[in-house]
Amino acid sequence: MKRQRSWWQLQARAAPYLFVLPFVLLFCAFQLYPLGRSLVISFYDTAGPRATRFVGLENYRYLLGDKLFWGALANTLYYAIAFLAVQIPASLGLALLLNSRKLKWRGFFRFAFFSTHLVGHVFVAVLFAALLSPRQGPVNELLSAILGRQVEIMWLTTPSLAMPAVLLAAWWLSIGYGMIYFLAALQAVDQSLYEAAEVDGAGRWAKFRHVTLPGIKPVLTFLIVVGMIGALQLFELPYVLFGGPGPNSRGVTVVMYLYLAGFELGNLGYASAVGWLLFVIIMGISIMQVRMMRMTRED
C-alpha cells in the first residue's frame, strides 16, 4: 500500500518531465544541434574537410554588399507583399460570400475552394508549367480568346513576369485555405452582436467594421503573421517552376539563394550566414506586424 502510494507520487512528479522528454530529446538532436552547427560555420570559410578557416564576421560583411542577395530579398519581399495583399482580401471576401445563409450547397463550395490547397508545391509547379506554356498553354489561349488576337506571353522566361507567374500559382493554392480560417472565425462571431447593432440602426458597412472585423481579428493576425513568415521562406514553388534562378535571376528568393550558395557554390559557411540574416529579417518583420496589430486594437 505504501509502496504503491510512493510510486503514484513519483509518477505525478515526474510526469511533466517524461511528457516533454521525447520531444525535447528529438528537438535537441534534430533541430538545435544542426542549428548550432550552422551558426558556428557561419563564422568560417568552409571548402572541405581540412579546409576550414575562421573568418569571423567576413561572411556577414560580404553578404551586406552582395547585390545578388539584395536582389533575392527584393524578389522575396515583392512576392510576400503582393501575395498577402491579394490573398487576405480575396480569402475574406470569399468567406463572406460563403457565409451567407442564402447560399445553397455551402459544404460543396467550401470544399471546392479549399481543395486547391491540397496540391503540393511540386505538383503545382508541374501543373502550372503546363498551364503557362507560351504558345499553346490554356492561360494564353484564354487571354487570346478574350483579346481576340493570338498572344505569345512568355510567362516563365520574361524577367518581369517571373514573380507574377509564381504569384498566380501561389494565390490559386492559398486563397481557399485562408477562406477556411475566415469562415471558421465568421461562424464563431456572436450573432446577438449583429442583432444589437441592427437595433442601433447600423448599416452593412458599420456592422462589418464594428462587429465582424473585431470578431475575426485574431484569425486575421494569425493569417498575416504566419502567411508572411511562410512567404519569406518561399522556395520550392519557383525552384521547380523555373528549375533554377529563373529569367535574369528574377525568380530567386532568399531561401533559394541560400540553397544555391550552399550547394551550388559549396560554401556552407556563407549559406548559413544568409540563413541567419534571413532569420533576423523575419523576426524583425514579425515583431513589427504584431506591434501594428496591437496598435490598431487600441483605437
Binding site: 511528457f19 463550395f109 505538383f123
Partner: protein, 288 residues
Amino acid sequence: MRQTAGTSARQMRRATASLLLHMMVLGLAAAALAPFAWLICAAFKSQADLFAYPFLPWHDLRRLTLENFRVLFTREPFAAWLINSIFLASTTTVLVVTLSSLGGFALAKYRFRGRGVLIWVMLGTMLLPGVVLLPGSYLLMYTIGWVNSYLALVVPSAVSVFGMFLFMQAMRAVPDELLQAGRIDGCSELRLWWEVALPIVRPMVGAFTLLTFLGSWNSYLWPQIILQNEAKYTLPIGLANMVAVPEYSSDYGVLMAGTLLSVLPVMVLFFALQRDFIAGLSSGAMKG
C-alpha cells in the same frame, strides 16, 4: 393589394440577389476548379491531343486513353511510391500528434523547471527557415547511419514546434478540477492525458492531424536528399524526377496522370473527413 405587390417585388429582388450570389460563387468555384479539370482531362489524353483540345475532344471521346496510367504503373514503380507516401505521411502524423499533445499537455497544465526556457527556445526556432538546418541535418543522418532510411524521414519530422504550441494553447481549456477529480479516482497522469485532456481538444486533434498529414505528404526537399533508390521514393520525389528525365519531361500526359494520382488520395481523405476538419478550425484553437 399594394402590400402584396410590395412583398412580391421584395421577393423578386431577393430572388435575383440570391441568383446573383449563386452565379458569382459558381463562377469563382469554376475558376478555382478549372486547373483540376484541365489536369484530369490531360491525364486521359494522348500526347498529340494534349494541347490540341483545351479540355476533352468531345466530338470523338474514343481518343481518350489509359495509356498514361499504364506507363506509370508498368515503367515506373508508381504503386510502391504511393504506398511509401501513405506509410510515411501517416506514421509521421501519428508520431507528431502523440508527441505534440503529450508535450503541449505538460506545458499547459504543469509547472516544472525549464518550462519557460523551453517555450522561448521553441518560439525562436519557429522563425527559422528550415533550409538552414539542411547541411547540418544531412551530416547528422550520415553519422548515425540513417541515410536512405525511413527513420531519417520519420523521426526528425516527429518534432513539431507549431504542434506543441497549438496543443499548449488548446489544453489550457482543460479544467484543472477535472484533472484533480481524475487524480482522486486514482488515474495516472498518462491516463489523464489520454482519457481526460485529449477528448476535450478532440476537434483540434482532427484538424491538426489532417494538416500534418498534408504537409508530410507534400514534403520534397528533405526526402529527395535522403532517399536513394527508386523503390523507396515518395510521390513528389518520383514525380519531380520524372520531370527531369527526358523520356517524360515533355510527356505531360504521364506527368499529369501522376499528379492526379498523387493529389487524389489527400482529396478523398479531406473530403471524407471534411466535417472533422472544419470543426477543428472552428474550435478556435488553431489561431495560435
